[in-house]
Amino acid sequence: MLNINKISDRFSGNFAKKLFVYLCVSIVLAPLLLNFTAFTHIDNDIWNHLISENILWQLCKNSLILCFSVALLSLVLGVSLGAIVAFFDFPARKYFEWLFIMPLSIPAYVFAFIYVGAFEYSSPINSFFHQYFSFDLNPPKDALYFTAPVLALAFYPYVYLYSKNAFQRGMRKPLENARSLGLNPIQAFFRCLLPLARPAIAGALLLVIMESLADFGAVSIFNYDTFTTAIYKTWFSLQSINGAAQLSSALSIFAILLIYLDFQKQNRKSFASKSLVSKDQRKRFQISKFWRIMFFVYASIIILISFVFPMLQLLYWAAHHLQNIDYRYLHFLSQSAIIATVAATICVGLSFLLVLIQVRSQNTKHKFLIRLSTLGYALPGSILAVGVYSLFAKFHLTHLAFTALITGLCIRFLSVSFNQLQGARLQYSDRLSEAAQSLGKPVTQRLGLLHWPLLKNTLLTAFLLVFVDVAKEMPITLMTRPFGWSPLSVRIYEMTAEGEWQKAALPAVFLVLLSCLPILFFIFYDRKKST
């Protein structure tokens, strides 16, 4: 006899969730697995070359040092700025609060060519220093100490955003508790607040590390060889797509390891400790005039080097090429906007559901599978593009170029929205969902009445971050775009590939303006909500 309860439960609950999770993970892993199949044909010449001349070890070392340096610098910048904005009042704090997000609108490769171009030997800035101070600012192109800070300037806003959001979710009470237990403010910050904000900060750092690992544009401008540049060189210089796929698989193993370590740590700690944040908890601490000025100066310096100066330099260059603006730019702009909007909407929607399933799931394997679906962020875009293209070719779907492009971008950037939403979801207790359930609300109503209102700001932030990332993304867009499409990032590539950095400034300015739009919308929305 059929057990109706049993069957309906399977279809309404766990079965549907499992199906959804397996589908997401399969779509993400399929291109990666296709890369792994490259190991069926080992190219001995390439591996002998990489191992015998110690190149592989040097590449690994370079990549690790770069990741560590960028993560450390981003951590210091992001957490310090997040903390001063969340906890203290200083002149122009309201403006700095959103200005710190603005560097996200500038791609890392644009940052790199701005700083290289601005400080190269014949640049006006270098000439000025040379003439008046007998000092050359010309950056040593192969030096880590120039690559890491520039990447950190591009990536610190992730850490800033995540940590500021975490700090603003009611840290006053834990801080006061720590103070009452004899800790001074600095001890309380490091021993209590920072560990409490750890899930959010760790999520942001994971993004920074993965971005650094996958970056090709910026490191190649600085001539700093990493694992990713080796993948590109193996493909383009040594003409071995098989070897590139093998190296890429090795990189994805490293990414899986990173995700696993983060997952293990998060899985052991429960951060869902509170369900209410009173307005009192969000009040800022009073500080002396000296510290107000110090924080203002610090914030101004960071904004100057991470946004104002790069933008001025871009505008300066772009002003020399204004005659190139024509109706084509409308196409470049609209194509970038369409791709970014579609990819960001899908990423945020999938992340929303995956995070809700992951947080309530008691199955560790299930949780890890979900985490695995965010793996794409660590992979170089071009390798992912090849994987996605191979996948579509396998099923004779190459005519669906736009779908392939969006699939590749979603695999690449799902992690951005997922980490943002996971941090926010862990901030409120499961009891809220259970309370709604016990009050008779089915899953659809719980989504609308509970999770949506509590997560909508974070959903908007996640959308904004993915939108900006997708708009800036270059390799996947370049390789899988539909015929005739030429979004802004592709246009920039076409210019920089010819070494015409000043000409690339014009599409770069358009790209930055496009990325600024969702940021400004978010700021406007956030302010309106506050009032």
Partner: protein, 350 residues
């Protein structure tokens, strides 16, 4: 005869990483009855509530609500379909909604009612426009209770609902709730650490120890006829003193005992294995009545002031320690000897 609202049969629950959480639980609750679950920390009280609510799956056994199977190894009816409202220890109020919106959360277009009927008795009618973050802990708890009640549940589950309230409000609210449950014919199961709270509000009390339900009876029987020393000590203060049986009448269930307090006779309720030589007799503080004229003397070794009375700890000549409630105008010094007599209604032997 009213039907069973809740019936649990041989229910077990395991968590993959923790192991056994509940073992072989069986109980029944009728419509309009209120039950409390007592037990030490991590004994499985909250897990049992969560299993009844449908938040956790049972490993074996069955749970019925109004004679409908809702949980078994193969069946798990979703919590929102059970008509069981859960009041969490941490309130779980929705921070983005006002108090009124929280209370009306369960309403649908077809299902609305006058919330003031619940808000006035709970004294939250003047804070309806505030957000949960703007009200006190006690008020939050009342809002959580009102929110659960207006959803018109068949069964109310309360996980330590009075834990954050001060004594006076706790006492007042527990009496009001009991009257409210009775007048509305609401059934409820409440988890608590406080036996007095459980006795005041409940028709049934269950005691959990090491994941098992060791006793499920009326509050009177839990206090006066505990089945194990654990239940005896959990349900109130008491001492266990060494005893030998002098004579026993199995037919009338009466016995005469030789104890350090002298010869004590009375009826007993539980089965006694007469082949054993030694037993432990439960003596509650109210079993010993202070009497200056009595020839039974004991030394005061400690005393605690409770306003109307003292709790005296007394050492008998045998070295056994017993306790006694004595009106506070009898202020005896520690070290002095005082007289008392024994007034034991039932013999509770272990």
């Amino acid at each position: 005869m009213s039907q069973n609202l809740l019936k649990i049969e041989n229910m077990c629950m395991h968590y993959p990483q923790i192991g056994k959480v509940l073992d072989n639980i069986s109980l029944e609750l009728k419509q309009g009855e209120v039950a409390s679950l007592l037990g030490s920390s991590a004994s499985g009280k909250t897990s049992l509530l969560r299993a009844i609510a449908g938040f956790e799956k049972v490993t074996s056994g069955k749970i019925y609500l109004s004679d409908k199977l809702v949980s078994s190894q193969d069946v798990l009816l979703n919590p929102e379909k059970r008509k069981v409202a859960f009041i969490f220890q941490d309130y779980a109020l929705f921070p983005h909604l006002t108090v009124k919106q929280n209370i009306e959360f369960s309403f649908s277009k077809k299902n609305q009612m006058d919330i003031m009927r619940f808000c006035k008795p709970l004294a939250i009618d003047n804070i309806l426009s505030r957000y949960p973050g703007e009200i006190s802990g006690g008020q939050q708890q009342r809002v959580a209770i009102a929110r659960a009640l207006v959803s018109k549940p068949d069964l109310l589950l309360l996980d330590e609902p009075f834990s954050n309230l001060d004594v006076n409000i706790k006492r007042q609210l527990s009496i009001e709730l009991r009257d409210f449950f009775k007048s509305e014919n609401v059934s409820a199961v409440m988890v608590t650490h406080d036996p007095n709270e459980a006795f005041a509000i409940s028709d049934w009390v269950g005691v959990l120890k090491d994941k098992e339900l060791v006793q499920w009876e009326s509050p009177y029987n839990i206090y006066h006829n505990p089945k194990t020393p654990f239940v005896a000590m959990l349900s109130g203060r008491g001492s266990l003193i060494s005893t030998q049986i002098e004579s026993i009448d199995f037919k009338n269930k009466t016995a005469s005992l030789n104890t350090p307090l002298g010869k004590i006779s009375g009826d007993y309720l539980q089965d006694i294995d007469a082949s054993r030589d030694n037993f432990k007799l439960l003596i509650r503080p109210d079993d010993l009545v202070h009497d200056d004229d009595s020839s039974f003397l004991a030394k005061v070794v400690n005393k605690t002031f409770f306003g109307a009375y003292y709790l005296y700890q007394l050492e008998l000549k045998s070295g056994d320690l017993v306790e006694s409630y004595i009106p506070s105008h009898h202020d005896h010094h520690i070290g002095s000897s005082i007289g008392f007599r024994v007034e034991v209604d039932h013999l509770v032997l272990f």
